[in-house]
């Protein structure tokens, strides 16, 4: 597929909200090692809230759908991750306000907007073991892809790959924010739970646009 219409965004969020809860235990386990072990339940409850909210978003433009879905997530699953993820979706959504569809060229800006919204919200800088550490590498990769005039499926696949690599690197980082921050050096060696959730979403996105690519 070459772009996501409002309808595509809604069906992607429906797919995403079915997929993510299946990784509940993996996320809980990671968060238990470095935080308080609630990330799995947070993501499950939040994704259900996104799903339940989609019907009310029929007919809205893509940016609004993303922004409101972020708020729906955090309304039911308020937490650090909930606020961060909601901020990311709201920032990305605001950025494409008025556009009727999401094209490949929009992706780098959207992820950058999300990243700067997140660092404004949480005050994190790169290398501090937060989702910024996967968002920024993705943004850079997407810019490169756009420069090479890659298709949406190609760009998404490349972004997901970059995300996985960046996730691997979060293991070496010392947490500076949230509960992980109180663990200081003890947090080194564990992969960042929140970034793990972002990677799972990105994988889901890459699959979605490519699959639809086949079937379109």
């Amino acid at each position: 597929m070459e772009k996501l219409t409002a309808a595509d965004v809604i069906s992607f969020l429906r797919v995403l909200s079915e997929e993510l809860p299946q990784h509940k235990d993996h996320l809980r386990e990671l968060d238990a090692q470095i935080g308080d072990g609630d990330l799995g339940i947070t993501v499950s409850i939040g994704m259900k809230a996104i799903r339940d909210g989609l019907s009310d978003l029929e007919g809205e433009e893509p940016g609004t759908i993303l922004a409101k879905s972020g708020m729906n997530f955090n309304r039911e699953a308020a937490s650090t991750f909930g606020a961060i993820f909601a901020t990311a979706l709201m920032s990305a959504g605001k950025h494409i306000k008025g556009r009727g569809a999401i094209e490949v060229d929009d992706l780098p800006e959207m992820i950058e907007a999300a990243a700067s919204g997140v660092s404004a919200r949480g005050g994190a800088r790169p290398g501090e073991k937060t989702i910024l550490d996967v968002l920024l590498p993705m943004a850079r990769e997407l810019e490169a892809q756009v420069a090479e005039e890659a298709s949406l499926p190609e760009a998404a696949a490349a972004a997901h790959e970059a995300c996985e690599e960046a996730l691997e690197e979060t293991k070496q980082m010392e947490a500076k924010h949230g509960r992980g921050g109180w663990l200081k050096e003890k947090s080194v060696g564990i992969q960042d739970p929140g970034s793990t959730a972002i990677c799972l979403m990105m994988e889901c996105f890459a699959d979605f646009v490519s699959e639809s690519a086949d079937t379109s």
Partner: protein, 333 residues
């Protein structure tokens, strides 16, 4: 899990229901939220409103500090997790009386971010919002990084001080200044003997040996300073004060308020044995005790353990601490 509860998923809402049934003359719900309460007589015309909130499981924190001379409204999260911005916004809008709103709560990233979003939404509705965070736990970060410290029972002092200042009719800026004065002059440290159990989890939050205690543990079971054999109460107090006193520092000639807080299961007798030693050590250090608070002021469900908090007083803080305040969540006669 040994608890007198019904469906663990209903734990928070049934607690709120019980509180409203018992204290319906004191509390009312904030419009548009099942998880936000306010003073029944609020908003108080012309007064700066103080809004707090956080995860459940710490009564009297947070909703126990809504009342005259304290906070005006509270938003209530699930056990140990942040309320949502919507509930915070509902509390903020309901409490606002035109003089501005102070968001006063503990320094936890989840609460911070969600209150941050609520503050932005409130400002979009032309409500002036300022924020002050309690960060009294000395072991959670070095003093140079005080902004990374978590809040424990010391939040109590910030409520009393800010609440009294607002009740005096001070401006938002003045209330913020007094709240910060309280926060920067408060230091705390805790000790845990047993874990608590989050109802929905059903399992203890952490494992701890039959003869072990953890010094400096947080009120959600966050790792503390060190784990070791249980020591005599006097030694525990001495070690706590060795961390608390130099941190501000509290020095000879200072005047302080003392809070000896039970995390839940620790009975009053033990709190008085702890206070006895605190009083002795401060006396030897030439630090005068203006007043003391001993009991359950910030709990962690049924966790056994206690915390000691000190507030260094100046004339303003003394006047504000001594001002009247009322909440039915502290047992009355």
């Amino acid at each position: 899990m040994k608890k007198l509860i019904n469906d663990p998923m209903e734990f928070v809402d049934e607690t709120i229901e019980g509180i409203l049934l018992a204290h319906g003359d004191h509390f009312k719900r904030c419009e548009g939220s099942k998880r936000a309460l306010m003073r029944a007589d609020g908003p108080v015309e012309g007064k700066v409103a103080i809004v707090t909130g956080g995860g459940s499981g710490h009564i009297p924190i947070f909703l126990g500090y809504v009342g005259p001379g304290l906070c005006d409204a509270v938003s209530i999260g699930n056990v140990f997790s942040s309320p949502s911005p919507d509930d915070m916004l509902a509390a903020t809008k309901a409490a606002d009386a035109g003089a501005g709103v102070l968001h006063l709560y503990g320094n936890y990233s989840g609460d911070k971010m969600n209150f941050g979003m609520a503050a932005e939404m409130a400002e979009m509705e032309d409500i002036e919002v300022a924020t002050v965070l309690a960060k009294d736990d000395v072991v959670s970060a070095p003093v140079e990084q005080m902004d990374e410290r978590r809040a424990v029972a010391g939040l109590f002092f910030a409520y009393k001080i800010a609440g009294a200042r607002a009740a005096e009719g001070a401006s938002l800026g003045e209330v913020v200044a007094s709240a910060e004065d309280a926060v920067f002059n408060t230091r705390s440290m805790g000790v845990a003997l047993t874990s608590c159990t989050i109802p929905a989890a059903g399992e203890p939050t952490f494992e701890i040996g039959e003869n072990e205690m953890e010094l400096g543990m947080g009120i959600h079971g966050e790792p503390g300073l060190r784990r070791g054999e249980i020591m005599p109460a006097d030694d525990v107090v001495d070690e706590m004060l060795q961390h608390i006193l130099p941190d501000l520092p509290f020095e000879s000639g200072d005047e302080v308020a003392v809070l000896v807080n039970s995390l839940g299961a620790t009975p009053p007798e033990e709190l008085y044995i702890i206070y006895r030693r605190v009083n002795q050590v401060l006396g030897e250090a030439g630090i005068a005790i203006h007043r003391e608070y001993i009991g359950e002021y910030a709990t962690s469900l049924e966790m056994a353990g206690a915390s000691v908090s000190l507030l260094k007083l100046n004339d303003d803080l003394k006047r504000l601490l001594d001002a009247d305040a009322y909440s039915p969540l502290l047992p009355t006669l």
